[in-house]
């Protein structure tokens, strides 16, 4: 599970995250939403042990991310927002590297690599350098790397970015089944329809603070909105989207 208590992080004078309390139970997929700069990436980086919180506490799979970062990292699978990869390695080599870092034995690593890359349709391309891959292919490699060591907790930041419709559908189904197996999943995305369909519960943050929590229906009911998209706009303080679009158009006409 994932648990944060009064988690805060500041960059200089800027408070990126303020007293965030979060709880994601095993078997649950939590949708973690917020506008750009709301503090989602900061939260994810803290949970993955890449940066430290300024104050507060975060536990992942029962381990403190500050005190026991290696134990946390052994138990998480992380799909970052941008598919950060070593371009000149092949997908097979990259997964082999990740397997070594997780101390998987060579036989298991090879079997899982073949299986995952095959399932994602990269079996034939696995020995090509990733610099030759499309955005979607790179994203598949990142997802495969996150699943390679069978993690207890999955932290996914825009995991469907770049995936074709068929692969995205498979990935959505995969997430549900992983949750059914008892894995804890934190799911960050800007595509609200997907969040609504995949996640059992949603947390929305804005300017570093949690501003809503519940199922999609609960959040819609609390804000009096018909859709999650509308609820999100109301909660994050965006004025009428039609008005904003009209203002942009008139600015383009002026200059």
């Amino acid at each position: 599970m994932i648990l944060t208590e009064k988690l805060s992080r500041s960059y200089g004078n800027k408070q990126a995250l303020i007293d965030l309390d979060l709880r994601v139970e095993p078997g649950e997929i939590l949708g973690f939403l917020g506008p750009n700069g709301a503090g989602k990436s900061t939260t994810v980086k803290i949970l993955t042990g890449m940066i430290r919180p300024s104050s507060g506490r975060a536990l992942v799979a029962g381990y403190d991310v500050v005190e026991q970062p290696l134990e946390v990292k052994r138990r998480i699978g992380y799909v970052p927002e941008t598919a950060a990869l070593y371009d000149v390695l092949t997908a097979a080599e990259y997964l082999e590297l990740v397997a070594c870092l997780h101390h998987l034995d060579a036989k298991t690593a090879a079997a899982r690599r073949e299986e995952l890359l095959g399932l994602f349709g990269l079996g034939d391309a696995q020995h090509k350098r990733m610099s030759e891959y499309s955005k979607g292919m790179r994203q598949k490699v990142v997802i495969a790397a996150a699943l390679l060591h069978r993690p207890e907790v999955l932290i996914l930041d825009e995991p469907f970015d770049g995936l074709d419709a068929n692969t995205a559908a498979v990935a959505k189904e995969l997430l549900k089944r992983l949750a059914d197996q008892g894995r804890t999943i934190l799911f960050c995305s800007h595509i609200l329809e997907v969040v609504e369909r995949v996640c059992s519960r949603i947390v929305i943050i804005n300017e570093g603070r949690k501003i809503a929590e519940g199922t999609a229906a609960e959040i819609c009911a609390a804000t009096g909105a018909a859709t999650l998209e509308e609820a999100f706009s109301r909660l994050t303080g965006v004025r009428d989207v039609g008005l904003v679009a009209a203002d942009v158009l008139s600015a383009l006409d002026r200059t």
Partner: protein
């Protein structure tokens, strides 16, 4: 190895995997637009660069063979090795240890700080030890033949001990600095440290060159003074003396000092430095930098460059210098070299007492400065952002030419002005000085044009490649050195003959125009084929 690393708190399996991966990355990483065009694997580029260093090693060995005093020969060679390793660390590998770029990929993996640090250090050591081998090993062979087996073996130990010590010292320096000043001020602090360290290392280089240059090699000996111990090069040079059974208290003290330094550095590597390494990277990655908003730069650029491409390159160069630590450190590493050349020129001018001084070294600096800057301008960690050159209607040939023009206007001309003003205090004949500066400026511009003609590159559009900048610095130094000596002979001979001088000026201008045209045609053809490397 497994036991040693485990004792040091390093996970052997992870260290091995990371080391293999980093070597694969280095060997395979891009060889620039030209390499992409020719489908050339960068492995060939690395071999070429290594051959260059090996050739330098042979020259150093020949010099060592002619030095009668074994201690002096060891010191000279180890000083060269120190300079080469330090240059590689300062110019090429400067931010490898502190770069958070691959932390984005490896950060979420279960790697301990110490293992991560050990893998990075190993990656750097592979290069610095290879460099030390290429530059120093030919001399070891000379030692084996000339001074016997014991001296040769001691030479090998001294060579690698020296290279490892320099590498550890610079890494420890950078890492300690990161902790001392905090990550927010790290980028600025590193630039200034880079500048200071470059002064020290290049200063030492000229100290050694001066000693060697002014001595008859065969009779060159070092006085056995305790003051020698102030120069760490003598510590490692003492190994061969002791091994040959010719050592005295000075050499014993030197060896002890080197061992103490190594123990100190190894202790530093094992201590807090490696434990807090990942934390520092995390802070660097999260820090977001201290980018300052550009002032009215774009308006100033408009005065100089009217074409959109030129203004774009000018804005890019300025903002990269302010915000890209690696670019700024690369540029700042060049300044000490040119300033030291200038100071040596001033020293010669003072010795000449107002008469025409020998400005060969100043000439080298003038010829070197813009060409070396140009090399720095092509590579960037942000090379993927160069998609904008390919996705907009920008004229790529004009972008390449603009980068060259910006170097000439913003770097070469101010540098010539600085040299002119400085030397005017020491040279009585202002016309001679003017003739010299015009000739040097024209030749430097010609070198810049030639460099662009031979290798047209878009600004900040290819990834960095390890050791590429070091080999370029060495190559350009050799070419500029020869050209600088020729230049002085030119000016001195022709100054008394205004017609001949005017003819040379005319020829240089004509050659510049001709090469400019050739470059334009070639660049337009090449630029059309350049492809995005991201």
């Amino acid at each position: 190895m497994r036991r040693l690393l485990s004792a040091l708190g390093v996970d052997y399996a992870q260290w091995r995997a990371l080391t293999i991966a980093s070597l694969k990355l280095d060997v395979r990483s891009g060889g620039g637009a030209a390499a992409a065009l020719s489908n050339q694997r960068s492995g060939g580029g690395i071999l070429g660069r290594m051959s260059g260093f090996a050739l330098l090693g042979v020259f150093v060995a020949i010099a060592a063979a002619f030095i009668g005093d074994r201690f002096a020969a060891s010191m000279v060679v180890l000083s060269y090795v120190t300079i080469m390793v330090a240059t590689a660390m300062l110019v090429d590998l400067n931010v490898v240890i502190l770069s958070p770029t691959d932390y984005g990929v490896l950060g979420p993996q279960p790697i301990s700080s110490r293992t991560y640090f050990a893998a990075k250090l190993t990656n750097i050591l592979v290069y610095t030890l290879a460099l030390a081998t290429l530059v120093g090993l030919p001399t070891v062979v000379v030692f084996l033949v000339k001074h016997g087996l014991a001296s040769g073996l001691a030479g090998i130990v001294a060579l690698y001990a020296c290279a490892v010590t320099v590498t550890f010292a610079i890494v420890a320096g950078y890492a300690r600095l990161a902790r001392a000043v905090g990550v927010r001020r790290l980028r600025t602090a590193l630039s200034w440290v880079q500048l200071a360290v470059s002064f020290v290392f290049y200063g030492a280089f000229f100290f050694v060159s001066e000693i060697v240059g002014r001595s008859v090699l065969a009779n060159f000996t070092l006085p056995r003074s305790p003051w020698l111990l102030l120069y760490p090069g003598t510590w490692f040079a003492s190994y061969a003396e002791l091994a040959a059974g010719a050592g005295d208290w000075l050499h014993v003290a030197g060896v002890l000092a080197s061992l103490a330094l190594m123990a100190l550095l190894v202790g530093a590597m094992r201590g807090r430095l490696s434990l807090e390494y990942v934390e520092q990277l995390g802070m660097l990655m999260a820090g977001g930098g201290d980018a300052r908003a550009p002032r009215a730069a774009r308006y100033r650029f408009r005065l100089w460059f009217r074409a959109g491409e030129a203004r774009a390159v000018a804005i890019l160069v300025r903002s990269q210098f302010r915000n890209d630590m690696r670019f700024r450190m690369g540029v700042l590493a060049i300044i000490p070299l040119t300033v030291i050349y200038l100071l040596m020129g001033v020293s010669d001018a003072r010795e000449a007492g107002g008469a025409r001084p020998d400005l060969s070294l100043v000439s080298v600096a003038i010829l070197l400065f813009p060409t070396m800057l140009r090399a720095n301008l092509a590579a960037s960690d942000a090379f993927r952002a160069s998609w904008i050159y390919f996705a907009t209607p920008a004229d790529r040939a004009r972008l390449i030419r603009s980068a060259r023009d910006i170097l000439a206007v913003f770097f070469l001309l101010p540098y010539l002005a600085l040299v002119g003003v400085t030397l005017s205090f020491f040279v009585d004949d202002p016309l001679w000085l003017l003739a010299y500066l015009v000739t040097a400026g024209l030749m430097s511009n010609l070198m810049l044009l030639l460099a662009t003609l031979l290798n047209p590159e878009l600004p900040f559009a290819r990834p960095h490649e390890k050791m590429q900048e070091t080999s370029r610095v060495i190559f350009v130094m050799i070419v500029a050195g020869l050209a600088g000596i020729l230049l002085m002979r030119f000016v001195d001979r022709l100054y008394g003959n205004p017609l001949a001088l005017a003819t040379v000026f005319g020829a240089l201008i004509a050659a510049s125009v001709l090469i400019g045209r050739l470059t334009r045609t070639r660049i337009e053809r090449q630029a059309a084929q350049l492809e995005f490397l991201g």
